[in-house]
Amino acid sequence: MKNTELEQMLTEIKDLRYPHTIDVVDAVMEGVEIAEEKHRQAVRTHRRIGWTIGATGSIAAAVAVLVMMVGNGSPSQAKGADNSRLSGFISAVYSNPPADVVYYDPDDIDILLGLDE
């Protein structure tokens, strides 16, 4: 293909004009609002996921600390009894979703605070 032929074809395309009046302002502003709302929702979802991971991680860490505390220093028989109550408590924590307020059984509080040794 000759250079001149290509140049002519490009010029022909250049001379094209969309043959209708265009007015997309209202549609664009609606689209922009929708795009912003999607962005806000994405940010909220990201934060919610972050909080859930953080809360689960904190509970797991606290439980691990408790297990280590109970494992050090109790008499073996008392330790066995405490451990079985504690494991029951740990299972309850893992099987229940995190809540805003957690109600502990008074006996469990004693274990948590190390007051029953």
Partner: protein, 176 residues
Amino acid sequence: MSEQELIQDILNGNRERFAEIVKEHQANVANLCYKLCGNKLEVDEVTQQVFVELYTALPRFRNQSKLSTFIYRITVNVVSKMLARQKRIVPEDDEVQFDVRSEDRNAEEAIIHNEKMQQLQAALLHLNEEQRTALVLFAFEDKSYNDIAAEMNWSLSKVESLIFRAKNNLRKMLTQ
């Protein structure tokens, strides 16, 4: 208010001012879309999409180039993506009829010419982004090599090379 001040105002939260950018540039975007794909896409739809993408890309816009250049690049990319997804078949009557100089061409030649023009439109969208941008700015927007170099922050030799290679690639694609 300058272009930069308007953009800054929008980025500071004054979203309604974006309508001014749309009003100023929508005709150019529609024309460019029509040049690139004729009636193969709904020009109104593409134009809307270009401006919505422009809005989300505004924070990334660097004032080294003109806003119009930034908008052209988005237009070319949106057209390219939408054509790739589009399965619409344009009825023959709706196809763009390119300049048919009846005194120069008979009916058969006119049909062949029309097909070649459509092939050229398709070939343009197959160029890589830099070549396509350089050629569109040069061939369709009447920008000089220096203008393009300044707006795109390219060297003059890069612009020359891109346009040269773009034309070569177009010729190859059209003669295959």
